[in-house]
Symmetry: C2
């Protein structure tokens, strides 16, 4: 039976939100697997009911990677942490996947260090979801890397396409290269050189797309370097906050405006609920030799539950096997 | 008396919107300058009233740079166009500024070719406005360049600071470097190397800012390479469209929803009116030895009017003189 390891100490509201998320998961009718809560046993037990569900188990670890630990210190001096040990147990085959809402940089670095890369993968990358008129689109890489070579960009496209097809269940997803113009001659050096590599890849490459095309859903998979992707992601995440501040400003104009804003706020909130990142519940680190799902520090129990299910889907749909196959069947990079 | 040359043939709705914008400008109480309409005389005259305002004059040109002309052909074979001739007259001192809502790539290339760069400026750049909780912020470079070196980024910061101080009238504007983390060690190679150059520049550099900080108005000037800037700009411009599509989707749920959406749409539109790029009316190409304001192809008469006023402000506030001074007082790049 599949077991997913859960970093019970990861996130701003750990272990409470994490344990609640794990409980919601094993109580869900879809749950046909086990959840291993990794962390300080007493702290975890305090969050669990007297009768622990049969599908939940605990494995104690002493230490914790703090949210603001520098990555280097997490790698060196947090070897007894829930994050480090959880990933080691995944590497050793005790569990089939790992999720954490802890320190993002540390999860990425430790996952890459402990799990290693899949054969042929030059750089693991993060795929994240952005809303669009046609449903969520996968932005890849969203920040695992900063300077990306053309080959890296092409591999992001291949991995993103596989993930979208197998986990999002979209057959032959459109893959677009995020750029400053539609023509293949447009862009910076890396994107110009990535174009023919993406064109030759076993994916449905639709060419360059522009910033304005992301929210239209022109591409199911939006390929970019992690520098641009991280900035776009954080920029997009801040959009509801700006709307909210507009609502506050408007409400302050007077009592009528205040009442009116109160009435319409719920409608708007409902309309843009796909901007709520808790719904997606974490993002996959693709290209590592294992399954590592990374969540927002502020992850809700619902987000944690969705992350655990995402890890299980990656096991079931054999995402890494497909990536391995696609990478080894590609020509070796020159 | 200052004269601003206006490319009457530039834009999707030229010459109509351009001529209307010029008329609105000279009828405005603030107008203490002349406007020279450049383009096909008969087409321009057809848009003018029988009695042409005293501050408006026309200079005929035969040719037009089309919106979809490749830049190379605009440079080579459109030497009799309104854009080319207007910029030549600016170079020759007949007029003190130039505005166009035509082919953006062509305006940039021709401005750089014909006006040349200000002494010490390595790369001209485009500053564009994004809304924020604290009023518009200047994103620079928004797409004049694709691959930017550290020195270029530092110069974008200096030019953006000068423009924001003199034209936006914000004293000692905060300048932030758009990056993937706050620490100065974060980012891609170019941004890491740009940090100390910005720190040493005669501006109020507040360090790295992230994508989420743009709409908060943390920085008055957001420095980035033109690749990232162009993608961010076009992404931001597509937000209102996504909201609109959400409204349509909601309205389609039923009659009650339709009526409700009709009621609230006006409020929301009013709230996000600073996302209307017509209000800002074009963006300056900074670093060229002259004044060149570039507008959206879809520019309204109001946008054209604002562009003409922006050009006049750049003359009055001596923006280029300040840039020249800042650049020549900088250490020469090694």
């Amino acid at each position: 039976m599949v077991t997913i390891a859960v970093d019970a100490m990861g996130g701003d509201h750990a272990p409470h939100n994490v344990v609640q998320g794990a409980l919601a998961c094993v109580r869900d009718a879809r749950c046909d697997f086990r959840v291993l809560l990794v962390g300080r046993e007493d702290a975890i037990r305090a969050e669990l009911p007297a009768t622990i569900p049969e599908a939940v188990s605990i494995r104690h670890t002493d230490d914790v990677v703090e949210m603001n630990d520098p990555i280097a210190s997490a790698l060196k001096s947090r070897k007894q942490s829930s994050m480090y040990r959880g990933l080691e147990w995944h590497r050793d085959g005790d569990v089939q996947g790992f999720i954490s809402a802890g320190n993002t940089g540390a999860v990425m670095a430790l996952s890459t260090l402990l799990l290693g890369r899949l054969p042929g993968v030059a750089r693991p990358c993060i795929g994240t979801f952005l809303p669009s008129s046609r449903g969520p689109v996968l932005l890849i890489d969203a920040g695992a890397n900063v300077d990306s070579k053309p080959l890296h960009l092409a591999q992001f496209g291949i991995m993103g396409s596989i993930y979208t097809e197998l986990v999002m269940e979209r057959s032959s997803p459109n893959v677009g290269l995020l750029n400053v113009g539609e023509e293949k001659s447009k862009g910076n050096d890396a994107s110009i050189a990535a174009w023919p590599l993406l064109q030759a890849a076993p994916i449905r490459f639709i060419g360059n797309i522009e910033g304005r095309d992301i929210l239209k859903g022109t591409a199911d998979v939006v390929v970019c370097d992690g520098f641009t992707g991280n900035i776009i992601l954080k920029f997009a995440e801040s959009f509801p906050g700006l709307l909210k501040s507009k609502f506050y400003d408007y409400a302050e104009r007077g009592l009528v405006q205040k009442l009116w804003v109160g009435l319409i706020a719920r409608t708007i909130k409902n309309m843009i609920k796909d901007w709520d990142y808790q719904e997606y519940g974490g993002v996959p680190l693709l290209g590592v030799n294992g399954i590592s799902i990374i969540g927002h520090g502020s992850s809700s129990p619902r987000a944690i539950m969705n992350m655990i299910f995402a890890a299980k889907h990656m096991v079931d749909r054999r995402v890494n096997e497909s990536i391995r196959e696609a990478m080894t069947s590609q020509q070796s990079p020159t």
